[in-house]
């Protein structure tokens, strides 16, 4: 490495003690060490990015810093004083709050009730709902959420829940705010709003720990960058010294090839999937579309445009009906996940925790759950085949796991995503629908997944991709359909597929070209 590290120098140059300091932190789960000897300074009023591959230990480090987990070695100091947090509540009292990578909200409570849970405002004996709703509305507006304070969190789409979670962290004054992949579920506008908030917090003297796999964000936002690899500290650098490619190489520890595969020649074969007049949730979302073998069809739109709804409807997971659905030359009589899968169509959900993986089950059972009938022709389970499939999948999808006998919930977020991808591919589909293909996936693996999709499509299959990451949508798709308010409003092909055009079509106000890409 030719780059100068700042961690040593920083300590001598800054007279003020760091707000938060980690000294030789380690964490082991049983015999598995996931983090060893990590030392880190967080200065007052800085945005400090933590980057690393999936499973590098970023979330684990954040959990230690915020009292959500106890270290098995090393210690912490705040403002020079040693501290140890018994639980997250103590850490919050000390001014450190973590916004989890996974959504942690009570689905039955309203937005305001969630925000104020554990610290309700009261007037006399009674809770002061009006005041709480008012303050909630303010904070929500600040993070750019359109949710209402009185909506049940369970009724919100994932992205809105993520914003609510961030809003919760901003409710009180904090010293350190830790954001673990806050933008993984957000689209451009929300991301922009969030970056704005992060900057203004920094200007108020709040320190921000920021984890993201979107290196463009890191580059635009961070003051300093710490890189983790395999549970070890690689170093801390001034952000100005690093460009995205260097960050990526520090994370992965090797040179990276091109992120996106080359585009394919236009697909000319007959459509493998034709959907006409699909109507979901009693007409709230409607559309007709088709996809050809050898083609990646991207579907774009703002949050809540109804993309997820559309596909869940196609699979019969929501109340829906369709004029006709033809798949692989066969007419599908009934909208049903099982029937679709048997006919060759699979769907990878955006909600991996709630709808994708059985967090309390082992990796094998998760991997084969969808393709049980294919892997086991009889009624018996073929465990040997299952183990074999798992080994193959771990290799093929590069699932970083320290033991094959862990539960799915113990995988890092990105590795869960890879397991999920492996799971739906077990069914050997002709059409793959992927909702947010690289949510929480590190840059090295992103490229892997893009090439994987490319290989798939080149081998004559079809792929439909929904993505809130515009570069990804643009870089990957041969054709893009844009959805707005539950209807398709534009189709882009070839040269027309640009971020500006997608944003222009997706935004009802017609504000084009305001995307994050302008930076």
């Amino acid at each position: 490495m030719m780059l100068a590290r700042t961690d040593m120098a920083g300590a001598t140059l800054t007279p003020e003690p760091p707000v938060l300091r980690a000294e030789g932190l380690s964490k082991a789960y049983g015999s598995i060490t996931v983090l060893s000897d990590v030392s880190l300074d967080i200065r007052r009023g800085e945005i400090h990015a933590i980057i690393g591959e999936n499973g590098a230990g970023k979330s684990t480090l954040m959990k230690l810093l915020s009292g959500h987990a106890a270290p098995t070695g090393g210690g912490m100091a705040m403002g020079g004083e040693p501290v140890a947090f018994a639980d997250a509540v103590r850490a919050e009292e000390a001014g450190i709050i973590l916004v989890h990578q996974e959504i942690l909200l009570a689905a039955d409570l309203t937005v305001a009730q969630n925000l104020f849970l554990g610290r309700e405002l009261t007037r006399g004996l009674a809770v002061d709902d009006r005041a709480m709703n008012r303050r909630t509305a303010e904070v929500l507006a600040r993070v750019g959420s359109t949710a209402r304070p009185t909506t049940r969190v369970g009724d919100l789409p994932l992205a809105q829940r993520q914003l609510v979670q961030i809003a919760r962290a901003l409710l009180d004054d904090r010293k350190v705010v830790i954001l673990d992949e806050p933008t993984a579920m957000l689209a451009n506008d929300e991301v922009d709003a969030l970056l704005g908030i992060a900057r203004s917090l920094r200007d108020q003297g709040v320190s921000i720990l920021y984890i993201s796999h979107r290196l463009d964000e890191v580059e635009a936002l961070a003051d300093r960058v710490t890189v983790l690899r395999d549970g070890r500290m690689i170093g801390t650098w001034d952000a100005a010294e690093l460009d995205q490619r260097q960050m990526a190489e520090l994370m992965v520890g090797r040179e990276l090839s091109d992120l996106y595969p080359a585009k394919r020649p236009p697909a000319t074969a007959e459509p493998v999937l034709t959907v006409t007049d699909l109507s979901v949730d009693h007409g709230r979302v409607e559309g007709s579309f088709e996809v050809r073998p050898g083609e990646v069809l991207g579907i774009g739109g703002m949050i809540g445009a109804g993309r997820t709804e559309l596909i869940e409807g196609l699979l019969g997971l929501r109340p829906s009906q369709a004029g006709s659905v033809t798949l692989n030359g066969r007419t599908i009589p009934r909208l049903d996940v099982g029937a679709m899968m048997a006919a060759g169509l699979v769907y990878l959900t955006e909600d991996r925790k709630g709808k994708g993986l059985l967090l309390n089950e082992g990796l094998g059972p998760n991997l084969v759950l969808q393709a049980l009938n294919l892997i086991n022709p009889g009624i018996r389970l073929n465990r040997r085949k299952e183990t074999g499939a798992l080994k193959t999948a771990v290799d093929e999808y590069d699932i970083r796991v320290r033991s094959l006998s862990v539960e799915a919930g113990q995988l890092s977020g990105g590795n869960q995503q890879k397991l999920l991808l492996a799971k739906v591919m077990q069914a050997d589909p002709a059409v793959v629908i992927i909702d947010e293909p690289t949510r929480g996936i590190d840059i090295g693996n992103k490229s892997q997944i893009y090439h994987f999709i490319d290989d798939l499509v080149r081998s004559g299959k079809a792929c439909i991709v929904f993505s809130s990451e515009l570069p990804e949508l643009v870089g990957l798709s041969d054709r893009v359909l844009v959805m707005r308010s539950g209807r398709f409003v534009a189709e882009l092909t070839g040269e027309d597929i640009t971020e500006q055009n997608v944003v222009y079509a997706a935004a009802s106000s017609g504000r084009g070209g305001e995307g994050r890409t302008q930076r």
Binding site: A88, V89, L105, A107, D108, L117, A126, A305, S509
Partner: protein, 332 residues
């Protein structure tokens, strides 16, 4: 916000659907009352209605407590036996205090009942939260324990309240305030307090939070164990209030007192719209649920249509049909 246009439509729909579902138990109650009136003209007699409403008090009052427990994701199978036990202790202490205190033994005994009931609830709560055992198993165990104690206290027979107290105590069940029987007044007061605590206090907020997602509650600094335990204490307190209304009615505790009430109470709570998995609570729905059960039983007796052997079958079927109807009307 770019998606404001799509956003606005949803909440309206949501809100309406929610309110509709909340009304379901009251609509069901109305339907059953109408059917009852059609089947038998005696049903609508003021006296009959008053009887039915008055005797609903027990299940409704205990149900308010059960709503708390169930909202936290718990379950209490011991309530029937606990009632019997509290009634037994109350009668014994009233009888013991009667010579010294005279009629004042009644309020003194009531206080004893409230303390004992709360302690019984505390016992359940502590075993469940400290021992981290399924509420189903713990309260099944304490159900056996309370039942055995009352059997032992009554020697298998019955334990009657002192005759000197009987007359003074009777009005608590049979008397009325401005024409409203006391048990009904007490039920309304208990439900009002319950609704206030559940919907308007910090504690109530935390009850639903714990039931909805205990992990989230814990991360937010809620003492999950304490909230759960407190719900069981409230349950015990409500059982004691029901016991206070119960004793003046028949004046005795027997080993069969309160038998199977736990099932009735839980049914009332669920019919009322509270989810068994926790996170949602409808105090007034519970009261409506309790009324529904009593009205069905009353109509069954008043009507001559089914064999005595099959009454239970028809009751079971009606409850299932009511839930089905609810599901299909509210799902639309």
């Amino acid at each position: 916000m770019s998606s404001a246009d799509t956003t606005m439509a949803a909440p309206e729909g949501e809100g309406f659907r929610l309110r509709w579902a909340d009304l379901a138990p009251f609509i069901a109650l109305a339907v059953i009352v109408v059917i009852g009136a059609l089947i038998n003209s005696n049903f609508m007699a003021a006296n009959n209605l008053l009887n039915v409403i008055t005797r609903t008090a027990f299940i409704a009052i205990i149900g308010v407590g059960a709503t708390f427990v169930i909202a936290t994701g718990g379950l209490d199978l011991s309530i029937g036996s606990m009632l019997a036990f509290v009634v037994g202790i109350m009668i014994m202490s009233m009888n013991a205090m009667a010579p010294a205190l005279g009629v004042w033994a009644i309020p003194a005994g009531a206080v004893v009942a409230l303390i004992v009931g709360s302690l019984c609830g505390l016992l359940n709560g502590v075993i469940i939260t400290v021992g981290k055992i399924e509420p189903f198993i713990v309260t099944l165990g304490t159900m056996g324990i309370f039942r055995a104690f009352i059997t032992w206290m009554t020697d298998g027979g019955s334990l009657s309240i002192d005759n000197s107290l009987r007359g003074a105590y009777r009005p608590v069940y049979f008397g009325s305030l401005f024409g409203i029987p006391y048990p009904v007044v007490i039920t309304i007061v208990v439900a009002l307090i319950g609704a206030f605590v559940l919907y308007r206090t910090k504690y109530g907020r935390r009850v639903t939070a714990v039931g909805s997602n205990a992990d989230v509650a814990r991360f937010s600094g809620v003492h999950v164990g304490r909230v759960r335990t407190m719900a069981f204490v409230i349950q015990g307190f409500c059982v004691a209030v029901a016991a206070i209304c119960y004793v003046p009615r028949l004046g005795a505790a027997t080993p069969t007192t309160g038998q199977l009430w736990e099932l009735q109470v839980i049914t009332a709570v669920v019919i009322g719209g509270t989810l068994l998995r926790g996170g949602k609570a409808h105090i007034w729905g519970t009261v409506a649920g309790a009324l529904i059960l009593e009205v069905i039983a009353n109509v069954m007796v008043l009507s001559d249509m089914v064999s005595e052997y099959l009454v239970a079958a028809v009751q079971g079927a009606i409850i299932i049909i009511a839930m089905l109807a609810h599901r299909f009307t509210s799902a639309r």
